[in-house]
Amino acid sequence: MNVHLNDLIFNLNSLKAGRKILFSGTIYTARDAAHKRIINLLDSGNKDKIPFNLTNSAIYYCGPTPTKPGNIVGACGPTTSSRMDVFTPRLLKEGIKVLIGKGDRSKEVENSIKKNNAIYFIVTGGVAALISKSVIKADLIAFEDLGPEAIYRFEVKDMPLIVAIDNLGNNIFVRG
């Protein structure tokens, strides 16, 4: 199944946990340090300084390697999503619709995804060279001083994702 971010909102009900899709559209990379900065901007009443519009946007937990000359992007696999759990409910409340990373999330994030009619996808970890083939455009847009933790805007085409937590809060991870 091919899904474009722009149509995703209309397809949410068919994207059940466990479903495999090929995803296309714009995504923004953000990991630990970028999350902290975004939350600080929100807390200090500087929402307008956040480098991209949060409403209906997609966040990818990723810190790519530097781009080799002649390439579009470096290796760019997912990092562990759960480190962002403390920030995620706030961002979902602010309008983020799509989360992409690896591994299970907290119960709070699961509930927040359901409450905000959002979705969490996973992508295979440790296959960063393969994933880089799905990126057709990459631009560094903010927080350059953070090095690998800067925010990049990626245009992706047919990125292989699995629905891990759907908009009804169903989760493919079984907790012990």
Binding site: A33, G63, K68, G77, G126, V127, A129, L146, F173
Partner: protein, 278 residues
């Protein structure tokens, strides 16, 4: 005495950084290919992606994983080696700085654990030096990602806990390593003391999959643990399956009468390691 110029070491290290990050060792690849035979559905798809990724990385000179890791070096320094214009620590750090810059590898080290400013060159590396006889330097490199390192753990057990206590602890650690990109390689150190057991566990990750433990007693323990770990049904990327770990390696060392230290070094499937001799 054999004189070796710093420059020789620096260049060798820079090349080693690239090679290790672009090439998945053959024994890991073989183990992955073997495990596919026992999996289906998502687990099989993931293993196929990992194998395809290794091919793309090697062919295009791209890192296997964006997390090109903390640079860990285990050095056996021949006592008849004289390093000109420098020392082994500086030479390795210069090599890392050069290798990570020239090969577009990610710089993931921050100066201070709380005031997290990136050092921009992936140094300092962790350099562990053992002195040995001879006039050669053997350097083993293990770039290790943060995800798997976060899942590693150490526990000081009471000697009465015995093998059963060790096993319970290891299974607990693996159960909490679902986010560490399984299939895993589980390196276990037993004995020594608090700092030495962690290093012992990490060093086991250089053993090739399929190699036998020198002790038949611990070889059997490795087999037993691997079987138990793969019964946890964690599977590739934690999405269930039979392949939770590809291997379990155990190393032991003498310890104090009151101690039973155990360390579990969790390694993700992207087990990057290379050894060179200068």
């Amino acid at each position: 005495m054999r004189n070796i110029e710093s420059k020789i070491i620096i260049e060798a290290i820079a090349n080693l950084c690239a090679k290790a990050n672009f090439h998945l060792p053959n024994d890991i690849l073989c183990a992955l290919k073997q495990s596919i035979l026992y999996e289906d559905n998502v687990a099989k798809d993931i293993l196929e992606e990992i194998i395809e990724n290794a091919e793309i990385a090697k062919t295009n000179g791209l890192p296997l994983c964006q997390d090109t890791g903390t640079a860990n070096f285990f050095v056996k320094l021949g006592r008849n080696v004289q390093i000109e214009d420098g020392n082994i620590y500086d030479a390795i750090n210069e090599g890392v700085s050069l290798g990570y810059k020239n090969n577009y590898l990610r710089k993931s080290i921050v100066t201070d654990p709380l005031n997290r400013k990136n050092t921009q060159n992936n140094t300092p590396a962790n350099v562990y030096v053992d002195s040995i006889d001879g006039d050669k330097i053997e350097i083993s490199f293990l770039p290790k990602g943060g995800g798997s390192e976060n899942a590693s753990a150490l526990k000081m057990l009471a000697p009465s806990c015995g093998w059963e206590g060790i096993k319970r602890f290891v299974l607990d650690v693996v159960d909490n390593a679902r986010n560490a990109c399984p299939p895993l390689i589980v390196g276990i150190g037993i004995g020594g003391d608090f700092p030495s057991v962690a290093l012992l566990a990490k060093k086991t990750l250089f053993r090739e999959i399929g190699s036998k433990n020198n002790s038949s007693f611990y070889d059997n323990k490795e087999k037993e643990l691997l079987e138990d770990i793969n019964k946890l049904n964690i599977g590739p990327m934690g999405l269930r399956g039979k392949t939770t770990a590809l291997a379990v390696f155990i190393e032991t060392k003498p310890t104090h009468i009151a101690l039973l230290p155990v360390a579990v070094s969790i390694q993700c499937h992207s087990c990057r390691r290379q050894t060179i001799t200068i």
